[in-house]
Amino acid sequence: MIELEKIVRFVKRVGPYVFKRLLIFIPTLIIISLLSFLISTNAPGDPVAKIVTAMGQDGTASQNSDANERTKQLVRKKLGLDKPIFYFSLGTAADCDTLYRLPDKNIRESAEKLTREVGDWDLVSEFYNSLKTPVKQIEISFPDSVLNQSQLNFKSQLIFYLNSLKEVASVKELDIKTKSIKELCDSLGGFELVQMEEAINTLKTNGNSWKKYIPSLNWYGIDNQYHLWLLGDIGLDKNIDTLSVTMNNQVLSFDEFNFVKRDNLWYRFNTNPITNDTIFEESFHSLSQIEFYNNGRWIEVEGSDSELTAYIDRGRKGVVRGDFGLSFEDGMYVRDKIWNSISVSFWLILCSVILSYLVSVPVGILAASKKGGRFDRWSSVVLYSLYSLPSFFVATILLYTFANPDFFAWFPESGIYDPETFDENWSAWEKIKHQAPFFVLPLIAYTYSSFAFLSRIMRAGVIDVIEKDYVRTARAKGLSEKRVLLKHVLRNSAIPIITVFANIFPAAVGGSVILESIFDIPGMGKVGYEAILNLDYPMILAVFTISGGLTVFGYIVADILYAVVDPRISLSK
């Protein structure tokens, strides 16, 4: 009964405050996600262009530009980047509100700049429209067969210039380019691009530069990237594609999914891109039974074996339902990737925290109990030096000394397991035995600075308590020094060090970028760092949101711990 009463009192003391903090927690998280959304979408470089290049379909020749554009558009749609970024956008009255539909990020940016300068999207769009015909006109008027070598050169130059007009970002640049286009036209034989020149002239003379000084708010509705990321397709039409199915040699494929019929069973298979081996994933008695969730899509197949329709649900569940989307890098679930990396970081940090507590508590007590003594002086010098040592310096030195064939090759250099000998099916003990050497050096590098920090806090805490009256009373009662320290001092001096515990975790989750890069540990920091370098928007968002959430959560836990260890603290004012 007394226990229950205690708990009720505790909840009354702490509850309202925690509830208030939790209420603020949600908008804070939303603001964090918004900020990271803004940062990642404004980063230079276009993930779409990067992916298309990686696909090896990036046609460099101008003839291929149409196909290239189509591929880009497809990739954009697949990644969900063809939607407006947010519910609304701030712009100027001169701007075009549907600019996000353009597939190429460079063209988008230069179009925006040009529009701002000219001051009227209508004129600029007229100009872009006039760019569609000239290339075709030239192809018709000057087919390759009637031209000599120098004329062919002129023609290809001209086409190059005309194509580059799309990326013009200022009127000045436009002037220079149209001038050289005119010269090229003349040397081809007095060709006139009437419509284009007219559009350019009106653009230069009829611009309204005042229009860009009027702010305007464009409303896009809930079909936008942020809504899809946060809430998924809540409130939107279910995004279901119907796919045509092609069948040859008993092999059925649609989009990127393949099925094959063998011995009256249908198998779903993937092809390993590196070894070209076929990997069978699931088997079905008939095709109409096929229903699976793959790559973030829900697939259903209907009909008989000869006449089939596949429905692919491209819908998103959204972060609120635990779906962080797919990584741009490899199409894997962000959720799985993050989970793997968090667990790596988590174990490492947990071990390092336990280690540093095991060392720093005794050191702190010992140093404080004989304040000013030899141990105190020396330990504080050592601790101070450790505290100021940059972790990447220590990590490099550790690698130099203990993972260097010239000195001591005691520990492996990088990674968390040896890919050649590691076996997924090992028992936990075998795994730990195999992986332990990989974690020794990182653990030292992780631990030493927090150990120094904690020892200093512990020492300060003990010194603070040791001068209190009740400690003097305990000594006066004739208790042994050991008993005084362990029974009377320790509990009260532990308050600051316990609360630090909650703060170490989140800071370590996001803050170990450098150590994880040096030791090549696939933890949160490294994954986040690589996501930033690879423009992997969903991963960046997830890393920021999750570590932000953990940090805020850590603050709340710290506050609760405060209230738990010190009954005098009242959190609700």
């Binding site: 000084y213 702010p215 940059p390 310096f393 030195i397 803050g511 932000g548 940090t551």
Partner: protein
């Protein structure tokens, strides 16, 4: 005791006395002065241009002559061949010439200079050669690379000397920015709190409109211009940015004034508090909960042009929260004290009370956290250079030297010396921070 009886005795003198009593702090302070000296005179400590040369009957002062004019050149008549020779100082290899006399700088190499005879990680104790007018020779003591070279033949010692300038300026400038932001927002939040700044609804809305328009005209439509001026030059970019800030504050004040002047009645006339404390605290909470280094990396990735100043601004803009929190706490205390209340009763304006009365008394914790902040800013910069982000590639910094050492396992000098330099600087700032805390806090009186 005699000092306290002295009439001239002020808090400043007291604090300095306390600071001096702290031996590690005092020594750190001297070390810092020494580092500043190295940073300021780095062109005369480590330079491929000698301080003084006598060659062909003429006297030159190359280290001084190239200081402001890199393309400085001169002509001489070669005494042996009798031909006219043109010396373009930046291209001249002084070591190779037959000089009558020369005074080298302490380290006769520039940080970005490739010594082609000592490439591929030459250690401090390895054989080192140079090309004199008589051909290849073993380097004499003055021409040796005392701390070794990197793979391209760049002198490590010279990199360290010039890196001092970069590390110190990153630390000081970024913390300067952080201190301005932190003190401003912290003072506002602490002094006004959530209830003390009461305005009419009309004025509140006007302030919001002013903020919005200031942002729109100051930054939104000028975003392209600002980016362009940053690529033109650091100063241009900075001025352009400041112009944006002027727009922001100008519009806010102007609309706030309009809201004050226009008489409002009814709904708009009712006075409501501006929850300044809540706005600032929430902003701090959000910024604190983002992983700082990842945030800096992301923002550094957004900047297409890598530059030191941008790095300082980024570090400053992400690390003002600590200072703001301390200042806020200090102002929460100060605003209840008698002298501030007295100033209020006397009818002084809020601005005068904040800046003239409260701020000088609330600066102590700011100094302390700035000292610690400089240490962590230097750490952040060297971490970023270590990862190869932020600082332009051709600039040699302590972090970038250390990262070269990571690649080459035999080149221990590339790890030890830059690491020691970073370590010493960070320790110095931490110790100064500690000493300041003790000196400025009467509770810690010795």
């Amino acid at each position: 005791m005699s000092k306290i009886e002295n009439k001239e005795f002020t808090f400043k003198i007291y604090a300095w006395e306390q600071f001096k009593a702290n031996k590690p702090g005092l020594w750190s302070f001297y070390t810092l002065v020494f580092l500043v000296f190295i940073a300021l005179f780095s062109p005369f400590i480590a330079n491929q241009q000698p301080l003084y040369v006598e060659y062909g009957g003429k006297s030159f002062y190359p280290a001084f002559q190239t200081l402001f004019d890199e393309s400085y050149s001169d002509t001489i008549v070669n005494p042996e061949t009798g031909l006219k020779e043109e010396l373009i100082f930046t291209h001249t290899d002084w070591r190779r010439l037959k000089k009558e006399s020369v005074i080298w700088t302490l380290i006769p190499y520039s940080p970005e200079q490739f010594d082609k005879y000592n490439t591929d990680f030459v250690g401090p104790n390895d054989d080192q050669e140079y090309r004199s007018h008589e051909g290849m020779k073993e380097s004499p003591w003055i021409l040796r690379h005392h701390l070794g070279t990197d793979g391209l033949g760049r002198d490590v010692a010279s990199g360290l000397i010039h890196g001092t300038k970069i590390s110190l300026s990153v630390g000081i400038l970024s913390m300067g920015i952080a201190a301005i932001l932190g003190v401003f927002f912290g003072a506002m939040a602490g002094y006004y709190g959530d209830t003390k700044f009461e305005v009419t609804r009309l004025r509140k809305y006007m302030i919001f409109i002013g903020l919005f328009l200031g942002f729109f005209y100051g930054f939104f439509i000028r975003s392209g211009d600002i980016g362009e001026s940053f690529s033109d030059g650091i100063l241009d970019g900075f001025l352009s940015f400041v112009l944006g800030l002027i727009f922001l504050f100008g519009f806010t004040f102007f609309f706030s004034l309009i809201g004050k002047v226009i008489p409002a009645k009814g709904f708009l006339g009712r006075s409501t508090p501006m929850k300044i404390d809540s706005y600032v605290s929430r902003t701090i909470e959000v910024l604190n909960s983002l992983p700082t280094l990842l945030l800096i990396i992301t923002v550094a990735a957004i900047m297409e042009e890598r530059s030191l100043v941008m790095l300082m601004v980024i570090i400053g803009a992400t690390s003002w929260t600590g200072i703001a929190r301390f200042t806020r706490a200090e102002f929460l205390k100060l605003r209840e004290l008698e002298f501030v209340q007295a100033a209020k009763v006397l009818g002084y304006s809020d601005r005068r009370i904040i800046f003239k009365h409260a701020l000088p008394n609330g600066l102590a914790p700011v100094f302390v956290s700035v000292a610690f902040g400089v240490a962590s800013a230097i750490l952040a910069e060297s971490s970023l250079s270590f990862l190869g982000i932020g600082v332009p590639e051709d600039i040699v910094t302590w972090g970038s030297l250390l990262s070269l050492g990571k690649e080459e396992f035999d080149a221990w000098w590339l790890v030890i010396f830059p690491g020691a330099a970073i370590f010493i600087t960070i320790t110095v700032y931490n110790l100064i921070g500690d000493a300041l805390r003790d000196a400025l806090d009467p509770k810690h009186k010795k």
